[in-house]
């Protein structure tokens, strides 16, 4: 336990350091993009978050399959924790996206395939979290595992459908190509690594929290059970 704690402390420190480095890279090292100006720097938040949201939902998908296969509640905890963090990152994507789009495209939102798919992805996993609240204790894990699988499999079909839908209507707004220079690539890599470490840190902490909650519930149920049995013995 203490060993793990020490490891977590070191990990926390490394993540913090990488975050500072990423901030430095974004604001000092990376040059200002010519056509979009300083707003382009949102890109370094937006892209890693999008990648991590997708990665988190992928973990949920895999853990859901493993839960149904192995019936071990650990996989359920991982699926749940990952989905929650995925929703957090997906929310960041959905907020930074429009903030970037407004000054550049002059609209907050376009119904383009990637944006729309991300929005639906966000909906699916918010529903996933909601399902966990309303489902009975006995079926919560299986239901959410099944929904986690359905939701993730649905994503590529949704993306295809929306792309086909958009190409039929003329695109009102086309994104201008970004000219990326080498320092920008470096910055993106640093920011991605920093965000990935943050993601892992959050995920580990969330799983630890879920395990603790499970333990406490287990102990409490055990004690209540003991008291109940004791009481019955005295009564009888």
């Amino acid at each position: 336990m203490t060993h793990n704690r020490a490891f977590l402390k070191i990990f926390q420190f490394v993540t913090f350091f990488m975050m500072l480095l990423a901030l430095y890279a974004i604001f000092v090292y990376a040059p200002v993009e010519k056509s979009m100006g300083i707003v382009q720097k949102i890109f370094y938040l937006h892209v890693p978050s999008a990648f991590l949201a997708f990665f988190a939902f992928f973990i949920t998908f895999i853990a859901s399959i493993l839960y149904l296969y192995k019936r071990n509640h650990r996989w359920d905890m991982i699926a749940f924790s990952s989905a929650e963090i995925g929703v957090i990152f997906c929310t960041i994507v959905l907020i930074t996206g429009p903030i970037w789009a407004k000054p550049i495209w002059n609209v907050w939102w376009t119904w383009d395939p990637r944006l729309t798919t991300t929005l639906i992805l966000w909906f699916i996993y918010v529903v996933y979290l909601m399902l966990r609240r309303v489902a009975g204790e006995n079926q919560r894990s299986t239901f959410s595992a099944v929904f986690g699988i359905f939701g993730f499999i649905n994503v590529p079909i949704t993306f295809l459908a929306i792309r086909l839908w958009r190409t039929i209507h003329p695109l009102v707004i086309t994104g201008k190509g970004i000219s990326i220079s080498t320092p920008m690539t470096h910055t993106l890599i640093i920011a991605s690594v920093a965000f990935f470490l943050l993601f892992l840190l959050l995920l580990i902490n969330r799983i630890v929290l879920e395990k603790m909650r499970f333990k406490v519930e287990e102990i409490r149920a055990f004690i209540e059970d003991k008291i109940h049995l004791e009481h019955e013995k005295q009564g009888g």
Partner: protein
């Protein structure tokens, strides 16, 4: 007993019974709902022709145990074999040899008695379904009500039709979960007659009840379930009715009701 699948299932029953004589066997059954333990390591074995009456106060886990035995529910750990079929894997084959009667009738209100039996008969692939339905309707004394809708039936009639539904495929084993609930005196007497018939035919029966008198009258074995533990199991020949009551009240801590 004339349909081919039944002969088949009987054969596989015999095969599995050659290994051990138990037709119902449960080992180390544990069931948890969330963190709440309902059954704690229950072992139970019954031979062919046994009639087990399972007593216990409310919330002792009787219904859960029955539901696990007929594989409506999976145990958290432990195994169940019914007529040689593993309840975790061979559900379909297992369901062919069991009949379940509970306080819930499993009948469709908008369908007539005949249609209800036709539906269940088709699900069990009963041969000569029409004749079989007439036969079981006669057995439960509802021959004249074939085309009446279930919703017009009284509680007692519905329960009798439920019996007809459960015996349509001539099962080897019966699970009865509080079958007397909601029946009037007359209905109870009728139902007892039907149960006696099953017992005399050599069917294996597991019944839960909290009515000690009615349960003890029919069974060959009695058991008491308390807080998920099987605290008592004895052959009827070794039980004297009044003593059993005392044991029951002592074990469960329930108060005897004034008669």
């Amino acid at each position: 007993m004339d349909s081919s699948w039944q002969r088949q299932s009987c054969q596989s029953v015999r095969q599995s019974m050659s290994k051990d004589n138990y037709i119902i066997e449960a080992r180390g059954l544990v069931k948890k709902f969330g963190f709440k333990t309902v059954l704690r390591k229950i072992d139970l074995s019954l031979k062919k022709g046994d009639f087990l009456a399972l007593f216990g106060p409310n919330g002792a886990g009787k219904t859960t145990l029955i539901q696990i035995l007929c594989s409506l529910m999976l145990p958290t750990s432990g195994n169940v074999w019914i007529a040689g079929f593993d309840a975790g894997y061979d559900r379909e084959a297992l369901h062919k040899v069991i009949g379940v009667i509970s306080h819930n009738t499993f009948l469709y209100n908008n369908l007539s008695a005949y249609e209800n039996l036709k539906f269940y008969g088709r699900m069990y692939k009963v041969k000569n379904l029409r004749e079989r339905i007439e036969e079981v309707m006669g057995l439960v004394g509802l021959r004249g009500y074939m085309n009446d809708h279930v919703q017009t039936f009284s509680r007692g009639m519905q329960q009798r039709l439920s019996v007809a539904r459960a015996i349509i495929h001539d099962p080897l084993i019966f699970f009865l979960d509080e079958p007397f609930t909601g029946l009037d005196q007359h209905g109870v007497e009728d139902f007892k007659q039907i149960l006696k018939k099953f017992r005399d035919q050599g069917k294996t029966i597991v019944m839960t009840s909290h009515d000690l008198d009615r349960g003890l009258e029919l069974c060959t074995q009695a058991a008491i379930l308390k807080s998920g533990n099987l605290v008592y199991k004895e052959d009827i020949s070794k039980i004297i009715q009044d003593d059993f009551k005392e044991v029951y009240f002592k074990l469960t801590g329930e108060q005897a009701l004034p008669v």
